[in-house]
Amino acid sequence: MIDGFLALYIFMLAAFTGYEIIARVPVILHTPLMSGSNFVHGIVLVGAMIALGQAQTPFEMAIGFVGVLLGAGNAAGGYVVTERMLEMFKSSKPQAGKGSK
C-alpha cells in the first residue's frame, strides 16, 4: 500500500526522467528505442506473477496464467528484438581505411 501523495511524487518524477532521457536520443536510434522502452514495460511480468501468485479460484488462475504468458512474451520478445537491432549499429572507426569515407 502506497500513500497517494507519495505515488504522485514518484509518478511525476518518473515522468520527468523518462521525458528528459528520451529527449536526447538521436533519430537514428528511434526504432530500437521504441522497442527498448517496449521491453522496459515488460516489467508487467512481475505484476502478472504476483497476480497469479495470489489467484484463488481456477478462473482467476486461468486469467493470471494468460497474464504471465503475455507478460513474459512482452519482456522476452522486447529484449531479443532490441538487442538484435542494437547489435547491428557499428562505427567505422575501428575498421578505418576500409570504408568509403
Partner: protein, 470 residues
C-alpha cells in the same frame, strides 16, 4: 521487516535503476547495446526476486507460463526479418497491454469475490483510489492489447482494407463511454463477474474499432502511442499491487512513448489527433500542376556519372525496405569508396514506415553509423554534392512540401535533394509514395529516373560500375 522482504525490495529498486540507466545509455549508438543489456539484467533480477515473495501460490503454474511465454517470444524474435520489426514491436507491446489488463481482471475478480458477504474473507479490500487506478489501467491495457493486435495484422498485410463506415467516430465514442460507465459502476461497489466481463469486452472492442480505420502506413505512430498506453497501464497496476518498480518503469515508458509519438507526428507534419481520427490526404484544394516529363537513364550511364563524381549522397526511402536492397546498396557504396568517391547516406527522420527505419536497415547491412547524416546536417551540403542517388524515397524528397500550400505534405521538412548538381532516382515506375501525390523532383531538369525494383536496379549499378575503368 525481516531481511527477505527488504532484499526483494532492494532487487526491485535495483531493477528500476537499471531500467533508467539502460534507457539513458540508449542515447548514443556507442553505448546503446550495453544499455539494453543493463535493462535486461534489471528484468532478470526483478523476476527472480518475485519468486521469493511471501504469499506466492501457484508457483508451478507461474514457472510454466513464464517458460512458454519466454520461449515463444524468444524464438519468434530471433528469426523475424529486420523489415518486420515494426509489427513485432506491435505484437510484444500488445502482449504487455494484455498482461496489464489481466492483472486488473484478477484484482477485480478477487475484489468482487470479497464483496459477496457469503464468501467474505479477511483479506484487505482495495482502497477506492487503488480500485479506480486498477480499473483505469485495465481499460488502457485492454485497448492497447486489441489495438496493437490490429496494428500487427495490418503491418503484416493481413488486413489491407481500411475499415470505414458512417458515424464511425460517434460509435467509437459511445463504446468508450459505455466502458467508462461500467468502470465507474465497478469502482462504486457494484463489481460482479458479468459486469467485469462486459467491461473488458467493451474495452477490447473499442481498441479494435479505434484502430481498424487507421491506414497501415500510419501504424508506427499508433504503435508508439499504444506503447505509451501500455506503460501507463503498467504503472497503474503497479500502484494497485504496491510495486514501485512497475510504477516507475511504466511511467518512464509512458512519458518516453508520448514524447516519441509527438516527435514522429511532428516529423510527418501532422498532429496525433489527425493520425488517429484524420482523413489523411483528403485536404482538398487543387494540387499544383507539374510541367515537364520524367527523363529516364540507364544503369551504365548512371554508374559512369557516379564513378567520376567527387561526392555522392545516397537517400534511401521506403522502397529500399520493400526491395530489401540495403546490402546491395552498401556494396555499391563501398565500390564507389574504393574509387575515391566520398559517399554519405542521408536519412530523413520519417523515411520508411517507422522512425529510424532506414537506420536499422543500413545498420543491418553493415553501414557504419558515422557515414549516415541527419537531415539538418546534410541539407546545407547538397549544393556541393555531385550526384544524389534516391532509392525508393518519394515524399521525403518532394519539393512540393516547400512550394505547394495545397499539398497534404506542405510544411513537412524535406531533404533538399533538388539542390544537388545531379539527381538519380531509383523506383519501379510512376507509383506515388505514402502521401499519394506527385513529386516535382522527378520532373526536374537535373533529375534522371532509373526504373526498376530497388534491389535489381542497384545490382545493375554494381555490375556497371565494375566495368568502368578506374
Amino acid at each position: 521487516m525481516s531481511w527477505l522482504p527488504i532484499l526483494i525490495k532492494g532487487c526491485y529498486f535495483l531493477a528500476a535503476l537499471l531500467f533508467i540507466l539502460g534507457l539513458k545509455r540508449m542515447s548514443s549508438p556507442r553505448t546503446a547495446r550495453g544499455g539494453i543489456v543493463w535493462a535486461g539484467y534489471g528484468m532478470l533480477l526483478a523476476v527472480l526476486a518475485t519468486f521469493f515473495l511471501p504469499d506466492m501460490h501457484n508457483r508451478g503454474l507461474i514457472i510454466a507460463a513464464v517458460l512458454v511465454g519466454v520461449g515463444a517470444a524468444w524464438w519468434s524474435g530471433r528469426r523475424v526479418a529486420m523489415t518486420s520489426m515494426p509489427q513485432m514491436v506491435a505484437l510484444y507491446n500488445g502482449m504487455g497491454g494484455g498482461a496489464a489488463a489481466a492483472i486488473g481482471a484478477v484484482e477485480l475478480i478477487g475484489y468482487a469475490r470479497h464483496l459477496d458477504p457469503a464468501l467474505a474473507s479477511t483479506a484487505a479490500l482495495l482502497s477506492p483510489v487503488e480500485l479506480s487506478l486498477g480499473v483505469l489501467g485495465a481499460l488502457i491495457g485492454a485497448v492497447s492489447f486489441s489495438g496493437s493486435l490490429i496494428a500487427f495484422a495490418k503491418l503484416q498485410g493481413w488486413l489491407d482494407k481500411r475499415f470505414v463506415f458512417p458515424a464511425q467516430r460517434v460509435v467509437n465514442m459511445l463504446l468508450l463511454a459505455a466502458a467508462v460507465l461500467i468502470g465507474v459502476l465497478l469502482v462504486s461497489g457494484h463489481a460482479s463477474l458479468p459486469l467485469i466481463a462486459a467491461f473488458f469486452a467493451l474495452a477490447l472492442l473499442f481498441g479494435l474499432m479505434m484502430t481498424l480505420p487507421i491506414g497501415g502506413a500510419d501504424m508506427p505512430v499508433v504503435i508508439s502511442l499504444y506503447n505509451a498506453f501500455t506503460g501507463l497501464a503498467v504503472a497503474f497496476e503497479g500502484f494497485v499491487l504496491g510495486n514501485e518498480a512497475m510504477i516507475i518503469a511504466g511511467t518512464v515508458v509512458g512519458a518516453a512513448g508520448t514524447l516519441l509519438t509527438q516527435l514522429m507526428a511532428k516529423a510527418m507534419n501532422r498532429s496525433i489527433g489527425n493520425v488517429l481520427f484524420g482523413s489523411f490526404g483528403a485536404s482538398g484544394g487543387e494540387a499544383q500542376a507539374i510541367a515537364g516529363a520524367q527523363k529516364p537513364i540507364d544503369a551504365s550511364d548512371a554508374a559512369v556519372m557516379m564513378a567520376y563524381a567527387e561526392r555522392v549522397v545516397i537517400v534511401p526511402g521506403y522502397g529500399l525496405a520493400v526491395a530489401q536492397a540495403q546490402h546491395k546498396v552498401w556494396e555499391f557504396a563501398k565500390l564507389l569508396g574504393e574509387r575515391g568517391v566520398k559517399v554519405k547516406f542521408a536519412i530523413h527522420p520519417v523515411a520508411g514506415r517507422m522512425p529510424g527505419h532506414m537506420n536499422v536497415l543500413l545498420a543491418e547491412a553493415g553501414v557504419p553509423y558515422d557515414l549516415i547524416a541527419d537531415m539538418d546536417d546534410i541539407n546545407p551540403e547538397f549544393p556541393n554534392v555531385d550526384v544524389a542517388l534516391v532509392i525508393g524515397a518519394n515524399d521525403v524528397v518532394n519539393p512540393l512540401a516547400k512550394t505547394d500550400p495545397a499539398s497534404p505534405i506542405y510544411g513537412m521538412p524535406i531533404l533538399d535533394v533538388m539542390n544537388a548538381k545531379h539527381v538519380i532516382v531509383i523506383k519501379r515506375g510512376k507509383g506515388t509514395g505514402f502521401a499519394g501525390i506527385e513529386n516535382a523532383l522527378f520532373y526536374a531538369d537535373n533529375t534522371r529516373m532509373l526504373y526498376g525494383d530497388g534491389q535489381a536496379a542497384v545490382g545493375e549499378l554494381v555490375t556497371a560500375l565494375k566495368s568502368v575503368d578506374s
